[in-house]
């Protein structure tokens, strides 16, 4: 979460999940919470149902959370920065800012104040399509609540303006003092089960474990001593850069563990070409998948039920994974396989159990310094947890931000990278549904989940359906400037007019063939949420009944 790292000094969710049912106001933007983080959705509903929490939902689609909201802002896709700036402007105009918090805990407010002044309620309403009165009501509700949290997810980050979106959220929270307090915070909801942990562990090209920059000589020196080797000081390539480098022959060998870039990546045609070009590709996973087809060597990993270890959830909680069944066939836990390769390359790794690896992690990762298996049994630990005596951290930035002062960042609204035009008149957006997960590597191998949600659906509004002469159950061809796919049509008033929504779980209709690979310049997150397409019927569902 590059935006939050800049403003707060840490990209992680500031609050704990359990604080959500006890807060006065929750503002959900760009998160289909009940589908993608179902139990967090329930925590929000719990507070709403018991009359404790007022919910504001900003989403172009009528997601299920809207049923629980006091206020639904249906902004046009890709206009989040304008919406957030507009809300902040109202808060400033109506004197609802927390002046004490701004003065004592933050810097840079004046510039933001100047910039957001351009986002008058009328201008904001024109850009976003949200009525002025709703903007005012939302701004007041959020600002005046004693405790308030903002929840967001990929609907915010998967844009070329993703980092801007996140910084605009941080501005709103800091201006109202709704961060760094029990029950108040900024909550990026992390997608996969252990995204948080993978980042914490330094599976990133620019940081070592615990977010210590690879360019920091002191941090490197410490690890060089622990690992008995010298370490490179130049930041490495990101996923998308790796693929580009592979396509150009600069990267020749690749080791892919537990990932499906051939389905999950935007513009996946490029990724396939890159994988094909590699001199040597090792794929280590539990299924062969699309990516595995390009491998020179395939190594069978063990599933989560077949190994010990830890996952770190979205609220920074490190929890135990415990082996329940023996590994299938010749499968081995990934840590055993990686150790085997390293040892064969002349760097012996002789761990007997993941708990020994965690001891090493604790030794070199300050925020995990107090994490030991014997402390994780009942409810895990939330980092930062720096020593054995440290009980862990429920919410971040209590007395000061990780970077010291919270940094306001002025961010101006920019239009999405690709907008609809005469030839491609429909906005295309992707996301997930409750029943599947990412490329479906796991969930589509679950019989029940596959039965409930068997095929790719593209959702459009009744108005668009009439315009395009499409009906529920028809098959439509969707074409963008980059490719075309077919999918079954679902007509639903959950979708706003002019927007087609599709999931990216299905290889036979890979939505990502259509999306653009324009990247957010800072976070390098691709724009999966907005691109332009056209749609056409290719097969009409026969009239049923008689």
């Amino acid at each position: 979460m590059a935006g939050l790292a800049t403003t707060f000094g840490s990209g992680a969710m500031t609050s704990s999940i359990s604080e959500l049912r006890d807060t006065d106001c929750i503002f959900v933007i760009g998160s289909n919470t009940s589908e993608n983080h179902p139990i967090i959705g329930l925590e929000v509903m719990e507070g709403v149902r018991h009359g404790k929490t007022k919910l504001i939902v900003a989403d172009p689609r009528r997601i299920r959370m809207v049923d629980f909201a006091s206020l639904w802002l249906r902004q046009k896709p890709g206009t989040d920065v304008a919406l957030l700036n507009g809300l902040l402007n109202i808060i400033i105009l109506e004197n609802l800012v927390d002046t004490e918090f701004i003065a004592g805990r933050t810097e840079g407010f004046e510039e933001v104040k100047k910039l957001v002044a351009e986002y008058t309620p009328e201008t904001t309403s024109r850009i976003t399509g949200v009525p002025v009165d709703d903007l005012k009501e939302a701004a007041r509700l959020y600002a005046k609540s004693p405790k308030a949290c903002i929840l967001f997810a990929m609907g915010i980050t998967q844009h070329t303006t993703g980092t801007d979106n996140v910084m605009a959220i941080a501005n709103l929270a800091m201006a109202t003092g709704h961060v760094g307090k029990e029950g108040s915070g900024v909550c990026p909801l992390r997608g996969q089960n252990n995204v948080q942990g993978a980042c914490d562990m330094g599976a990133l090209p620019n940081v070592l474990p615990g977010y210590q920059p690879v360019t920091d000589a002191a941090a490197r020196a410490k690890l060089e001593q622990a690992w008995g080797t010298s370490l490179p000081d130049k930041p490495g390539l990101t996923l998308m850069e790796m693929m580009a480098a592979a396509e150009h022959g600069k990267v020749r060998g690749m080791y892919i563990m537990g990932e499906e870039p051939a389905i999950n990546d935007p513009n996946s045609t490029h990724v396939r070409a890159a994988l094909k070009k590699l001199d040597f590709l090792v794929v280590q996973n539990i299924f062969l998948g699309e990516t595995g087809k390009y491998a020179d060597v395939v190594l069978p990993g063990a599933s989560f039920a077949e190994k010990d270890g830890t996952f770190t959830n979205t609220e920074r909680r490190i929890q135990r994974v415990r082996q329940a069944i023996p590994a299938l066939g010749q499968c081995k836990p990934d840590w055993v396989i990686t150790s085997g390769i390293a040892s064969r390359m002349g760097y012996p790794m002789n761990y007997r159990h993941p708990s020994e690896i965690m001891e090493e992690i604790a030794g070199v990762t300050p925020i995990y310094g107090g994490v030991h298996y014997d402390r994780l049994d009942k409810s895990g630990l939330q980092w930062p947890c720096r020593s054995r005596e440290d009980a862990g951290t429920k919410y971040l930035h209590k007395d000061s931000f990780s970077r010291g002062k919270g940094k306001f960042m002025p961010v101006a609204y920019k239009e999405a990278f690709e907008l609809p035009d005469a030839e491609y008149p429909i906005i295309f957006s992707t996301g997930r549904i409750l029943y599947h997960w990412h490329g479906g590597t796991m969930s589509r191998q679950s019989k029940g989940l596959a039965e409930i949600a068997p095929e790719a659906m593209v959702e459009i509004s009744p108005v668009d359906a009439a315009k395009l002469k499409l009906a529920d159950g028809d098959i439509a061809e969707l074409a963008s400037r980059r490719g075309k796919i077919q999918a079954k049509v679902k007509v639903t008033d959950e979708s706003p007019d002019g927007v087609a929504f599709m999931t990216f779980h299905f290889t036979e209709a890979p939505a990502n063939l259509l999306t653009v690979d324009a990247l957010d310049p800072v976070a390098k997150i691709p724009e999966l949420k907005v691109c332009a397409i056209k749609m056409e019927k290719v097969w009409a569902k026969p009239a049923s009944g008689e």
Partner: protein
């Protein structure tokens, strides 16, 4: 809130005003039998939790009876026991007595109380239901013949998962739990969270995965963390003979507090998919074709080590790159980035957090 003091079975007990007798007794270590009551949610429907309250003519359903100062409560008098036996006998009068093959046996509330109260059958010969088994969703069976209409599944659906997919339908003998218009759950708002299954005290709602897979008391339970999303729910895997049989979650689980979504409760069977890789493979066909031969671990790992070393010495460390995984454990991610940095000698390591 004010604290009140009263006695249960001669024991002095303090509780917050507004607490039910059943809950107050529980915190005092006295377990009152109950079928329909669920933590914090009471309907008073089953009347198994009746107790004698001094000065009250009728027995009181303790799950809905609020505590008050100076109450004198008795939870196991002869009258109370008789009433409870009656409740169980009535339920058994319209219940298939097939505990020997019932999947719920060993974890069934009805079986437990029949045993504890010594009820072996029923004196009430009444009309019996003969419903066909409801097999209309992929995750669980509903056997109406075993339903005691306690309403726990309805509470679970409405007040725990906030879905409101099911409710009591019809009256009298035809009363049953159903989705609107008695449609299949697939055509309702049901999200297949399985909260209803988890809360059912009898064999009326049973996970399909566990059928004929082992008796309750033979299942080994392993506590772990869900492999799907970043919420990190606690799962309790029930295991028999190297296979997962069902998944539940403890009521006091730190993050999810007894709740799960469809993926956590029912989506784990990918673990046993026949599509799983089971041996190391080496490519024989063209790239992208997906043609491989099986290899031994030694052969495969030797090849990987040799090739990576070759590329590193020919083209330098930065010609190698690695994708780690947000699906793998912390320990595995740590080792992979250590391997990339310390052994391959590059910072070209990333994972798909961006996606």
């Amino acid at each position: 809130m004010a604290t009140v003091s009263f006695t249960i079975d001669g024991k002095n007990v303090m509780a917050e005003e507004g607490t039910s007798l059943l809950e107050a007794a529980k915190s005092a270590g006295i377990e009152i039998p109950h079928l329909c009551y669920m933590e914090g949610l009471a309907t008073g429907a089953c009347r198994l939790c009746v107790v004698e309250v001094e000065g009250q003519k009728n027995l009181a359903a303790s799950c809905v009876f609020p505590v008050a100062n100076k109450l004198v409560v008795k939870t196991a008098t002869e009258r109370v026991i008789r009433a409870r036996k009656n409740v169980i006998e009535l339920l058994l009068s319209d219940h298939p007595l097939d505990c020997m093959t019932c999947e719920k046996s060993g974890a069934c509330g009805l079986e437990k109380y029949a045993y504890e109260l010594g009820v072996t059958g029923s004196r009430f010969a009444g009309e019996r239901h003969h419903y066909p088994l409801d097999d209309t969703n992929p995750f669980f069976f509903r056997d109406y013949n075993k339903c005691i209409l306690c309403g726990r599944c309805v509470l679970a659906c409405n007040d725990v998962q906030f879905v409101e997919a099911i409710n009591f339908a019809h009256r009298g003998f035809g009363c049953k739990i159903a989705a609107p218009y008695d449609r299949s759950l697939k055509d309702s708002t049901c999200i297949f969270c399985g909260q209803c299954v988890a809360s059912c005290p009898t064999g009326a709602l049973v996970e399909k995965s566990r059928c004929a897979a082992g008796r309750e008391w033979d299942l080994q339970k392993v506590t772990t963390t869900c492999s799907y999303c970043g919420v990190g729910c606690t799962l309790e895997l029930s295991v028999k003979d190297g296979r997962i049989v069902k998944v539940t979650t403890p009521a006091d689980a730190v993050v999810n507090k007894g709740r799960l979504c469809v993926k956590g409760r029912f989506g784990w069977d990918y673990v046993h998919s026949p599509e799983r890789l089971t041996a190391p493979l080496i490519r024989v066909g063209e790239k992208g074709e997906g043609k491989f031969r099986e290899a031994t671990w030694d052969e495969a790992l030797d090849l990987v080590a040799r090739k990576f070393s070759e590329i590193k010495s020919e083209s330098g460390s930065d010609s190698l790159a690695c994708l780690s995984s947000a699906k793998c454990t912390n320990e595995e991610n740590y080792l992979v980035q250590k391997f990339v940095r310390a052994v391959l000698g590059t910072n070209n390591v990333d994972h798909c957090a961006r996606l």
